[in-house]
């Protein structure tokens, strides 16, 4: 049985940039423990000499040529920004 600690939930919250209420944390711990117990099934089959399958298609070497194809669309792109200034995205002070 997997045991998820408060520290783990806190740590994963930092990685995922999610802030959970105490109630949500308890629920998340329970959910994650239950899922991990289930996922532990993956340990059953012998995967000793199996190559991990990260891409299901045998497609390789999909390249583009080094040619400029895009023009300036910043006006439209920035329209979606919650906050914009001087054609730039605005974020809280980073340092």
């Amino acid at each position: 049985m997997n045991k998820i600690t408060d520290e783990t939930i806190e740590y994963v919250g930092i990685l995922a940039k999610l802030e959970l209420t105490d109630e949500e944390k308890e629920k998340a711990k329970k959910d994650m423990e239950q899922m991990l117990d289930y996922i532990d099934k993956l340990g059953e089959p012998d995967t000793e000499n199996v190559t991990p399958l990260s891409h299901v298609l045998p497609v390789k070497n999909a390249f583009r040529e080094d040619e400029v194809t895009n023009s300036d669309d910043s006006a439209n792109i920035l329209k979606n920004a919650p906050e914009e200034q001087d054609n730039m995205f605005v974020v809280p002070q980073t340092f």
Partner: protein, 482 residues
């Protein structure tokens, strides 16, 4: 016969023959949405004005093609719906999430530009589970979609809006996306046809990613012929999607022939074991019988590794999702929290307020299985098990042309009964997720209904890039049923 009763192909024929105007058909659909959708909630956005403008310009185009209408696409003039995780330029695209509640894409998804160049009228964006994470369409930030067959039931998910729209006549066809069954399962619950193409068959460019190695856009429609015709339009290589396959598709519509003589169909024994509803089992096996009567060779076999599909799937999908959804941070688009204290607090509050519980659950799980110390035990292990599952299917396809099974263990459940136990809900994906893990095509076609009249779907899975055999089999079955 009402305009709304036509199939997509029939409607286009009538339009080309001059019997129905493009705007007339579009208006009929929009009026119907206006009357019906308050009960169903299949749409998040209805683009009336844009649709009517497009209809006008298509009508003009038709006039220019007088006498050579055959050169126009078989779906010319037909109103379609698009799932709300597929970008349409200048049309709000939300993924049914608060975090993208006001997002307006600056570009068209490749499938959308292909559909529009073929003369389709996009009438709006359909409801779904938030970020396609769910199998009931109940996790949408824009309200629950209801099943047209019984509004107390869910339409399935995540492409529940697309399926419900077709089933209730609010669209002649629709685009959905399928990461673990999200086209096939709602198609099954709502009694329409849904096809998940081979991974790489249809460009993902413009599809807001959930699990990138599993996601695939596909057609949903009233019948197999419509679905094949839509696939003809959207399939094909796209230089903007490096994972799209560069090969000739051929004409899928031509595969709509009644002929399964000598076709070898395998039925995995494991798919008919415990957990499957009795009536569903009976109906699906009866469908197999029908195909047998049409000349197919039906055989039961042991597929193997069935029980590992769900744990592998949820590990991989959650991991990819945790990374794909990092870009929703309140900086470039979408929702940003009102009050915050510094950058990281802004990130956390924006995301915690913007995402719903199911999305957060999967992001947390995905971040965990990729985190330092767990990557090998969970994520890498899941990729290895995925390889084993694919090998099992490869072996099966050495013997069989098609694998037949149910789409879902039950018919559509009642609204409000699924989300309480996530693991139980995930187990419902048992029959559909293998096609995504292996990248193979699969189709869901209606095969009957349960005692309360809720639709049941038949699932056919095929070899990589062999959609044609699936279409041929599904078409033969569909004709035999009538």
């Amino acid at each position: 016969m009402s305009i709304l009763d036509y199939s997509a192909l029939e409607l286009s024929k009538e339009i080309k023959a001059g019997n129905i105007g493009v705007a007339e058909a579009t208006k009929a659909v929009l009026d119907h949405i206006n009357n019906t959708d308050k009960n169903i909630n299949a749409f998040i956005t209805v683009a009336d004005e844009r649709a009517l403008q497009k209809a006008e310009s298509l009508q003009k185009q038709l006039a220019e093609y007088r006498g050579k209408e055959a050169e126009l696409s078989p779906l010319f003039g037909v109103p379609f719906a698009v799932k709300d995780n597929i970008c349409v330029k200048n049309m709000r695209t939300t993924c049914a999430s608060k975090i993208l509640g006001n997002f307006v894409p600056t570009y068209d998804a490749t499938v959308v530009s292909r559909l529009e160049s073929a003369g389709a009228v996009i009438i709006g964006k359909t409801n779904m589970d938030e970020f396609a994470m769910g199998s009931t369409s109940e996790t949408s930030a824009f309200g629950i979609t209801k099943n047209p067959a019984d509004t107390d039931c869910v339409p399935g998910g995540s492409s529940g809006g697309s399926a419900a729209a077709i089933a209730s006549g609010m669209a002649y066809g629709a685009l959905g996306s399928d990461t673990g069954g999200s086209i096939r399962q709602p198609a099954s619950y709502c009694g329409v046809v849904g096809l998940k193409p081979t991974y790489g068959r249809v460009s993902r460019y413009g599809l807001i990613a959930y699990g990138s190695s599993l996601d695939q856009i596909g057609p949903m429609g009233k019948n197999v012929e419509d679905v094949a015709a839509i696939l003809d339009i959207i399939a094909g290589h796209d230089k903007n999607d490096a994972t799209s396959a560069d090969l000739e598709g051929g004409c899928f519509a031509d595969a709509c022939v009644e002929d399964v003589k000598g076709l070898k169909i395998g039925i995995p024994k494991g798919y008919f074991a415990e957990g499957l509803d009795g009536k569903v089992k009976e109906t699906v096996l009866a469908a197999a019988k029908t195909l047998e009567e049409k000349g197919a060779i039906i055989e039961e076999f042991d597929l193997g590794f069935e029980e590992y599909a769900i744990p592998a799937y949820y590990t991989i999908a959650s991991a990819e999702a945790s990374s794909n959804l990092e870009r929703f941070d309140g900086i470039k688009y979408g929702y940003r929290t009102k009050e915050f204290n510094g950058l990281h607090n802004m990130y956390k509050k924006t995301r915690s307020e913007g995402f719903g519980p199911e999305v957060k659950r999967r992001i947390m799980l995905g971040s965990f299985v990729l985190s330092s110390g767990y990557y090998d035990a969970y994520y890498l292990k899941a990729l290895k098990v995925r390889a084993l599952i694919k090998e099992a299917f490869d072996r099966a396809f050495e013997k069989y042309d098609v694998i037949l099974g149910p789409v879902a263990p039950t018919t559509a459940p009642k609204i409000g009964t699924s989300l309480t136990d996530p693991l139980k809900m995930y187990l419902g994906d048992i029959y559909t997720i293998s096609a995504n893990l292996c990248g193979i095509p699969a189709i869901s076609v209606p095969c009957g209904s349960d005692d309360s009249g809720m639709p049941i779907g038949l699932q056919l899975m095929g070899k990589m890039f062999d959609e044609k055999t699936l279409i041929r089999t599904a078409y033969t079955f569909e004709k035999a049923r009538v």
